[in-house]
């Protein structure tokens, strides 16, 4: 049969072209699966499933958010072509075709339209063999995304229930295709199977998993957060501007932890990365408030930096915000004033809650939260522990601050063009000036400026530099000159303050004598206890014991503090004798400004000044309001006087008690008078 031969012939041809086609010569039919991967990703809008009346209002009243989602997919479930050649084919009957899609994603009208194409082609080809042409036309249509972008909506509309499956199919297909490929890893230079490679999500660059893991784990271990980006040399760089002069470099965004996890990097390592990234942001943000608890020192909760989620894939990357702040860096720094701004905080905005220990404290005075109606002052920077002070003095004398984030920076070697490890600001090590990242050396190239030709000044770093007129004074040399002047004034003031303090203490001592119980002229030794009153005697003995205890406690306290006070005085006297030293006290605006930055290359020294002794410091009121630089001194004479006075007071109290006992009135005795608080209240104010 000639007719049949023609059908057999055509099926044979089809089989040759599409070996995957399933042909059935008995029924003259063929089934062919066509992969659908449009050259332009197909835009699909997933609309929430229309409920019974399908209105927006109905969806809302059901409590279901009516959210339409637009997704672009480049791989869609295959199109199934069922073709059969009827008896009269090709001369008398057109081929019968039936199209379906897996997951039913292509609308029925579209399928019918494609099916109709078969007969049309058959006619166009003069009723000849058209099977291949038909398959080809369907393929081309698939390539064009079935012209769905030409439809009335401009995209394909599908119920949102289909979204998950279609997206999963797209990803799975893409991965399967990727995995079968072979790629040359640009790092180890070896060809690798796709299965052991990773394709960057945003830019599509491919490297082998081994190299990526090695690099990123190494970078995370070293703390190089900014190194966690695509490794392709050209990635993230913008082509030079039209004028070709300014090489504007786009800040490359670091990778999302999701990607690192997908590369098979351990969760603990990825978490460390996320934590470091967050910490860096917190630390380079001058508005960050730190917990004053010495053992905690975490950041206070802020909406700007949400806590890291347990599931790292949920982490919200805010790199976009980074880029923005990078371009407007200068303006932003001007706006966020740092510590000085805190001083002017409205009382209602002073509450801060530590994100780690949940301590509620005041942003301004760093004490536990005192409510918004309490009056408080910024913590006095002079009230620092010795270590804090030493750390400060070192930072002041040996570092340059980054002009953007104030990280103390120390150069160990190299030129004076610094790039802040923390915030990537380019600046001059000598004068802390901002430098144009595109052309940093210009700064050293302006005759007449202090830094002219100073690029390689102190190339070997600061360590081991002899002191002398040319010795490094850091960018803080102006600060230090101001400090010297202030220190001199302070020394004078401190002398006066000491005198005033002594006078105040003397006055206070007199006051205490008056305030205490009325003087009684009877001495303890002269009192004859009623031998018949053991109860009274026991009470008296108990009271004497308590007084001794209190006395010992007081003495211990005094003794603990004495050497410190003495040392401070001697230090000051020595200072006055030897003339202006460097950085002896710390101006207020830096009290909380300095934080410790971890710096793998060891460029940055210094420390976040902890809130050590903060509580102790805050217990006390300043007698003279704000003593500048916390020059608080207690004269030893005054202390001795205080001790004497305390002894007298206790004696008097005991005597009074015994007197009352004699009159059987000891029950009226207010024993609270010997409580710790009262013993303490005679400690002269610091």
């Amino acid at each position: 049969m000639a007719e049949d031969d023609e059908r057999v012939e055509e099926l044979g041809a089809l089989e040759a072209i599409f070996p995957e086609a399933k042909t059935d010569y008995n029924h003259f039919s063929a089934i062919l699966e066509l992969a659908v991967s449009p050259s332009q990703p197909l835009l699909i809008r997933f609309v929430p499933q229309a409920s019974s009346d399908g209105t927006y209002a109905h969806a809302c009243s059901n409590g279901v958010a009516h959210v339409e989602r637009d997704v672009r997919l480049s791989r869609l479930p295959a199109l199934l072509l069922e073709m059969s050649l009827p008896a009269g084919y090709p001369s008398d009957a057109p081929p019968k075709v039936h199209l379906t899609t897996n997951l039913d994603w292509l609308p029925a009208e579209k399928l019918q339209e494609l099916e109709a194409e078969a007969e049309k082609l058959w006619e166009d080809f003069g009723r000849g063999q058209t099977l291949y042409n038909f398959v080809d036309s369907v393929q081309q249509a698939a390539e064009r995304g079935f012209d769905l972008d030409q439809s009335a909506d401009g995209f394909l509309v599908l119920p949102s229930t289909a979204e998950q499956d279609l997206v999963a199919f797209d990803q799975a297909t893409e991965l399967a295709i990727f995995n079968t490929g072979t790629y040359d890893c640009g790092i180890c230079l070896e060809p690798k199977k796709g299965l052991s490679c990773y394709k960057m999500k945003d830019c599509g660059h491919v490297f082998c998993l081994q190299c990526l893991q090695d690099f990123y784990i190494n970078a995370i271990t070293e703390g190089d957060v900014s190194g966690i980006r695509c490794l392709d040399p050209g990635c993230g760089k913008e082509p030079p501007n039209a004028n070709g002069l300014k090489r504007k470099r786009k800040t490359e965004s670091t990778l999302h932890p999701r990607e690192l996890l997908a590369m098979g990097i351990e969760e603990a390592t990825v978490r460390r990365y996320v934590e470091m990234k967050r910490k860096k942001k917190l630390e380079s943000d001058k508005t960050t408030v730190w917990c004053p608890r010495t053992w905690c020192q975490s950041a206070a909760k802020s909406a700007k930096y949400p806590p890291i989620p347990t599931d790292l894939t949920e982490y919200v990357a805010d790199d976009a915000a980074d880029d923005e702040s990078d371009t407007d860096r200068t303006t932003i720094t001007e706006e966020t004033g740092g510590p000085t701004k805190i001083a002017s905080l409205d009382p209602t905005e002073r509450l801060a809650i530590c994100e780690k220990c949940t301590f509620a404290f005041c942003k301004m005075c760093y004490t536990g939260w005192h409510g918004q109606f309490a009056r408080c002052f910024p913590r006095d920077p002079g009230e620092l522990s010795k270590e804090e002070k030493a750390s400060y003095d070192y930072i002041r004398a040996n570092t340059s601050p980054c002009p953007t984030c104030d990280s103390p920076t120390q150069k160990t070697m190299g030129c004076n063009h610094m790039s802040c490890f923390q915030c990537k600001t380019h600046f001059c090590y000598l004068c802390s000036a901002w430098l144009d990242g595109a052309n940093p050396y210009q700064h050293f190239n302006k005759p007449g400026t202090p830094c002219f030709n100073m690029l390689w000044e102190r190339e070997e770093g600061d360590e081991g530099q002899a002191d002398g007129p040319g010795a490094f004074a850091g960018a803080r040399r102006w600060e230090q000159m101001a400090i010297e002047a202030a220190r001199e004034a302070d020394a004078r003031e401190a002398e006066e303050a000491a005198e005033a303090a002594q006078a105040a203490e003397n006055a206070l001592a007199v006051e205490h004598v008056v305030v205490a119980q009325e003087p009684v002229a009877v001495a303890l030794a002269q009192i004859n206890l009623d031998e018949d009153e053991p109860r009274v005697r026991a009470a008296a003995a108990q009271m004497i014991a308590r007084m001794r205890e209190a006395q010992i406690r007081l003495e211990e306290e005094l003794e603990q503090e004495e050497p410190h006070v003495r040392a401070a005085r001697e230090e000051r006297m020595a200072e006055v004798r030897r003339g202006p030293p460097l950085g002896q006290w710390v101006p207020a605006e830096h009290a909380w400004g300095v934080r410790r930055h971890e710096h793998p290359n060891g460029y940055v020294h210094g420390g976040r000044v902890p809130a050590e002794h903060a509580q102790a410091v805050r217990r006390h009121e300043h007698p003279n309001g704000h003593v500048n630089g916390g020059r608080v001194r207690r004269h030893p004479m005054a202390m001795a006087a205080a001790r004497r006075e305390e002894e007298e007071r206790q004696q008097m109290q005991l005597q009074r008690f015994l007197e009352m006992a004699e009159m059987d009135q000891e029950d009226d005795w207010d024993s609270d008078g010997l409580d710790e608080d009262d013993v303490r209240f005679v400690i002269p104010p610091r």
Partner: protein, 151 residues
């Protein structure tokens, strides 16, 4: 991995050396110290000069950039005028280095910089100023140095 990659790179540049470069190992068996003799580009003022460059590949290579030192004295705004002859430009900067960069790319960059100094990115500001303001004097010294040190 590092060593394998270095071997691969070395084999590549040996078979197909970058223009004007002769590459050998400073010490036999030490893959981390490369010795390059570069003929300056003929269209540059250093034409005719042969420059010895030592490239040190850190043990973290290619995760960390190679360190490049001119052993032949060179009058150039981007090369330090000291015994190190250091050059630290573009991809050689630690924060700009990316592992897929290769030594061949580095050498290509060096040749480009030899042909076209970048005075705005200079490490020797004096030379850069001269380059910008008194090109003749600059070229004279550069050429003198070539005949003095780089022949």
């Amino acid at each position: 991995m590092a060593n394998k990659r270095i071997m691969k790179e070395y084999a590549e540049v040996t078979n197909n050396p970058p223009a004007g470069c002769k590459i050998s190992l400073e010490n036999e068996g030490d893959m981390n110290l490369w010795n390059v003799v570069m003929d300056a580009p003929s269209d540059s003022i250093y034409a005719g000069g042969h420059f010895k460059i030592v490239i040190k590949l850190p043990k973290e290579y290619p995760f960390k950039p190679p360190v490049l030192n001119f052993k032949t004295k060179l009058y150039h705004p981007n090369v330090t005028n000291d015994e190190n002859g250091s050059m630290c430009l573009g991809m050689l900067r630690p924060d700009e280095w990316k592992p897929p960069n290769k030594i061949a790319d580095v050498l290509k960059l060096v040749r480009t910089v030899l042909a076209a100094p970048q005075p705005d990115d200079a490490v020797e500001q004096g030379i850069a100023d001269q380059y910008k303001n008194d090109r003749k004097a600059f070229e004279k010294t550069a050429k003198d140095w070539v005949s003095k040190y780089a022949k």
